[in-house]
């Protein structure tokens, strides 16, 4: 097989060059960014690992101008595709995940490696590599260059992914392993490379034994930080509800919650319910869970003679989320905020900003495991 050197503007590049995702950070003022541009790319079917390793510096040498000689990276991120793929771009979810990583490029450049294991196919390694250039957000400063690698591993080697990915990991930087469409097998030796795991408990929502899934994730989190994208997406709801209890008058109601109602799809519903259960020391019978399209939380509480209702919900048809506190005494607080961006890029941005264990999530998951 012969390597194919592609020029800038390949179909893959064209598909992403116009990516215009707003970054996380609470709706900052950056405006829209021009998406990264493919500068050089390389691919080969039936490649040897040494050839892939040689291809990365070669891309930089071939790239026009001196700037591409400078590599900027803050981590290595390994994306593990679920199930076999017939080609290096055959897995839509993995490709969407890769696109999200790329969208962060100008602000959080990393070496991204997409692994597509295919254990039942004829042994081979098909690989492609691409060098990307991202412009700085304000127009001031230098462009940022970063690399992207896709490796389809067919045959027995698919069960030894650590040996494939190890040589590509950047020294001295965190290694984040992300399972975009599945949950990791705790016995997978690949996990030993990870300084942080990124998962999405939303992917497990359809499974029969969610409790087992949650307990498995808790086991994984005992040895390294695990960041749950679903939990990251729920942060605005948690912030809004917590904010309702900031006024001194309202704080006392935290000790008198009688009923917590959580609506939403199963994944977020159980985790939010677990969070309330753990933080407020609620019993399961003090929770009411219901299926709904959008997340909605209502706490009914009392403090002395006064009763209060605290709710965070999205009005149907509205692009705003409302946080409301109302009391039997007549006082009422309202706060409306823009509907948080739920895109994969924003969730990922929230996840990789702070690569550390989240004990609140662990407690929430532990309690959710008793509910699911």
């Amino acid at each position: 097989m012969t390597p194919a050197v592609e020029s800038p503007g390949t179909p893959a590049a064209e598909g992403t060059a116009g990516t215009r995702d707003r970054l996380a950070g609470g709706g900052g003022t950056s405006g829209e960014d021009r998406g990264p541009q493919a500068v050089q790319s390389w691919s080969k079917q039936g490649a040897k690992l040494g050839e892939v390793l040689a291809a990365l510096p070669a891309l930089r040498r071939k790239a026009a101008g001196r700037e591409a000689g400078t590599r900027t990276a803050v981590m290595t991120i390994v994306l593990v595709s679920s199930g076999p793929a017939s080609s290096v771009d055959g897995d839509d979810e993995a490709q969407a995940a890769m696109s999200s990583v790329r969208s962060l490029g100008a602000h959080h450049p990393c070496r991204a490696i997409l692994l597509q294991p295919d254990p039942d196919a004829t042994p081979a390694i098909d690989a492609s590599a691409c060098l990307w250039r991202a412009e700085p957000r304000s127009g001031a400063g230098h462009p940022v260059f970063f690399e992207e690698l896709s490796i389809r591993v067919a045959g027995q080697a698919a069960s030894h992914l650590a040996s494939i990915v190890g040589p590509f990991v950047l020294a001295d930087l965190p290694v984040v392993i992300w399972f975009p469409a599945s949950l990791p097998d705790p016995a997978d030796p690949l996990l030993k490379l990870a300084s942080t795991l990124v998962v999405d408990t939303r992917n497990a929502a359809g499974q029969d034994d969610l409790g087992h899934v949650y307990r498995t994730l808790l086991d994984l989190s005992s040895t390294r930080p695990v960041v749950d994208l679903s939990w990251v997406r729920l942060q605005p709801w948690r912030e809004l509800l917590a904010g309702l209890f900031e006024p001194e008058h309202n704080r006392h109601f935290l000790e008198g919650v009688r009923l917590a109602s959580v609506k939403g799809k199963p994944g977020p519903r159980y985790i939010l319910a677990g969070w309330l259960m753990a933080q407020l020391d609620l019993r399961a019978r003090e929770l009411s869970l219901a299926d709904a399209k959008h997340v909605e939380i209502t706490l009914s509480a009392e403090a002395g003679e006064e009763e209060g209702t605290f709710e965070v919900k999205r009005d149907e048809g509205s692009r705003a989320v409302w946080a409301r506190a109302s009391f039997s005494g007549g006082l009422c607080h309202n706060q409306a905020l823009p509907l948080p961006d739920s895109s994969l890029t924003t969730a990922l941005a929230g996840a990789v900003s702070y690569l550390r264990a989240d004990r609140t999530w662990e407690r929430a998951l532990s309690a959710a495991a008793t509910l699911a």
């Binding site: 100008a106 304000s138 917590a242 008058h249 704080r251 407020l280 009411s288 905020l337 008793t370």
Partner: protein, 565 residues
């Protein structure tokens, strides 16, 4: 509804006040873990002595208040506690251009509390609805939260010299405590002309608004300039202190709200490799540059009375300099940092008036070309006198009398209509003691430099020598660059956003203490005196150049030259 009730809940969870689900090392609130709502101790980490807190909503402000357990895990975010923001000068330009957009951004970032109200005060006749319209017009593309804040905003028309203005304010704030639950927390922001700072502060004192109400907080935020010279700064301070304690006063220099200025602290004190070199043994000299391409724009009237020394050097430059020169603080808190900053400023040698011509250059821009545009000279600008003696450029050579910096000159330059907008601090290191290569092999080699770029291309650059690839042994300068925007996802907040939030949350770290202001005035006062006595001629420079020739000569006398930023 799939009620989660029944006996399926955690068996031991109901041990109220003890813990959560037991038997799991990740147990919710189990032994060793943070306790849950019903077992929480009261209070939390204290904020300032007025009980500010607000960071992540974790602080239990009042002694008997339970902690907000739902805010656990959200500590990376600092939020304002419930309260009211009173803006004096609410109809003015600063409010419209800076404060309101900053507040809207805080709202958009979910950093304002639900119990939050704004009261605008100004002489301009306006109704509540008129003020609300003004708020809406300040942020045309606002998020939905802004409408809710606008709804909780009010306006008081009144003269600052009339007691009725402040009685009306007092009444409105009490109403907000009742209707919104603002808890007696009040932040008074003086976005007025500096002439009325003292008057407003005293009037607030007369109606008792200087004292925290009902266990809340009362804080006064004022903008630079803090006085016109050292004497008037001291007079202002004395007036403010008649009614407000020092820990209630938040003096804003928006430079300190810039992320990259704060990053000077991180670079110095979160890294072991720089601090050992950060002294007279390795540093040859320091250069601080604050260069602007703009002229005085429409601020001619103001600038005529200020000049570059008062407008930039006394505040912005002194703040950046103090962070660069200070000793490591015992702790990175308000008093730890501000104490060390003052010590650093006190070590700067106050020049004698007779030495001023030797250590300072002042200049004024003539017409020229900047960024491809022909621009007029300063004296042709609107509001500027035709024979103005106001300086638009200052270059200084300062020295520092302490163990760390003795013998290391600090060169400062700032000016308008310079070729490039840039603010940076550069540590120029000493040359190697012996160059082992032939001289011709190192022609492109300069001493190492560490440059902290504050704006616009925020980051850090280290200059060092490297071998040019090839058969010959030739060394040349190369730059190692860290670009602030290319490593972090979080969008840095605008300086006003950061400082407004800090003031409301009661964190005075990035605000200037009274003794800092006084010490900074002490350094520049001899220059003001000498210049007003005609001790140094005003040198002209072409707009678009790097300043007067005399500024180059200032360094050339020491065998050095300005960097090309």
């Amino acid at each position: 509804m799939n009620g989660a009730g029944g006996a399926g809940g955690p068996a031991s969870a109901r041990s109220r006040g003890v813990g959560g689900p037991a038997g799991d090392k990740h147990g919710a609130g189990g032994a060793g873990g943070p306790a849950s709502a019903r077992s929480r101790g009261v209070g939390g980490p204290a904020g300032d002595k007025q009980g500010a807190g607000g960071a992540g909503g974790q602080a239990g402000d009042k002694n008997s208040l339970p902690r907000n357990v739902l805010a656990e895990g959200l500590e990376t975010v600092r939020r304002a506690p419930p309260g009211a923001l009173v803006v004096f000068g609410a109809s003015g330009d600063l409010t419209h251009r800076k404060l309101l957009p900053a507040l809207e951004q805080l709202s958009r970032r979910r950093l304002l509390p639900a119990a939050f109200g704004i009261v605008g005060v100004a002489r301009t006749e306006m109704s509540d609805d008129g003020f609300r319209d003004l708020m809406a017009s300040a942020v045309p593309d606002a998020g939905p939260g802004w409408a809710e804040i606008i709804k909780n905003s009010y306006y008081i028309t009144g003269d600052y010299s009339h007691p009725d203005t402040f009685s009306a304010l007092q009444k409105k704030l009490s109403e907000l405590d009742e209707s919104l639950g603002t808890g007696g927390n009040r932040t008074f922001y003086l976005a007025t002309v500096p002439d009325v700072f003292g008057e407003v502060a005293l009037a607030l004192g007369k109606v008792g608004l200087n004292k925290p109400a009902g266990g809340g907080t009362a804080r006064l935020v004022i903008e630079k300039p803090f006085g016109h010279d050292r004497e008037t700064a001291r007079e202002l301070d004395a007036t403010l202190h008649q009614v407000f304690d020092e820990d209630q006063i938040y003096r804003i220099d928006h430079y300190l709200g810039k992320e990259t200025v704060q990053n000077v602290l991180a670079l110095r004190f979160a890294n072991a490799i720089f601090e050992p070199l950060w002294n007279r043994n390795y540093v040859d000299h320091v250069q601080v540059t604050v260069a602007e391409t703009v002229g005085v724009e429409k601020r001619g009237n103001f600038y005529e009375k200020a000049g570059a020394l008062r407008d930039i050097v006394q505040n912005h430059v002194m703040q950046v300099l103090s962070l660069t020169l200070m000793e490591p603080p015992g702790s990175v808190d308000a008093e730890g940092i501000r104490g060390e900053k003052v010590k650093a400023l006190r070590s700067v040698v106050v020049p004698a008036e007779r030495d001023v011509p030797n250590i300072a250059v002042r200049g004024q821009y003539d017409s020229g070309w900047v960024e491809g545009n022909a621009v007029p000279g300063y004296r042709q600008e609107e509001g500027v006198s035709k024979d103005s003696q106001t300086e638009t450029y200052v270059a200084l050579r300062l020295t520092v009398d302490n163990w760390r910096w003795a013998g290391v000159p600090i060169y400062v330059r700032t000016g308008k209509r310079l070729p490039k907008r840039v603010t940076e601090v550069a540590l120029q290191f000493k040359e190697v003691p012996h160059l082992a290569f032939p001289k011709e092999a190192a022609l492109g080699l300069n001493p190492n430099a560490l440059v902290m770029r504050i704006q616009p291309d925020e980051g850090v650059t280290l200059r060092f020598g490297a071998k040019v690839p090839g058969q010959a042994f030739v060394v040349r300068d190369v730059l190692m660059d860290f670009s602030y925007g290319a490593a972090f996802l979080e969008e840095p907040p605008d300086a006003y956003e950061r400082l407004l939030l800090d003031a409301m949350a009661g964190d005075p770290t990035l605000f200037i203490r009274s003794d800092e202001v006084d010490t900074a005035w002490g350094i520049v006062q001899p220059l003001l005196d000498a210049w007003s006595a005609g001790a140094a001629p005003l040198a002209g420079y072409a707009a678009g150049s790097w300043g007067p020739r005399a500024a180059d000569a200032l360094l050339e006398r020491d065998g050095r030259q300005w960097r090309a930023p």
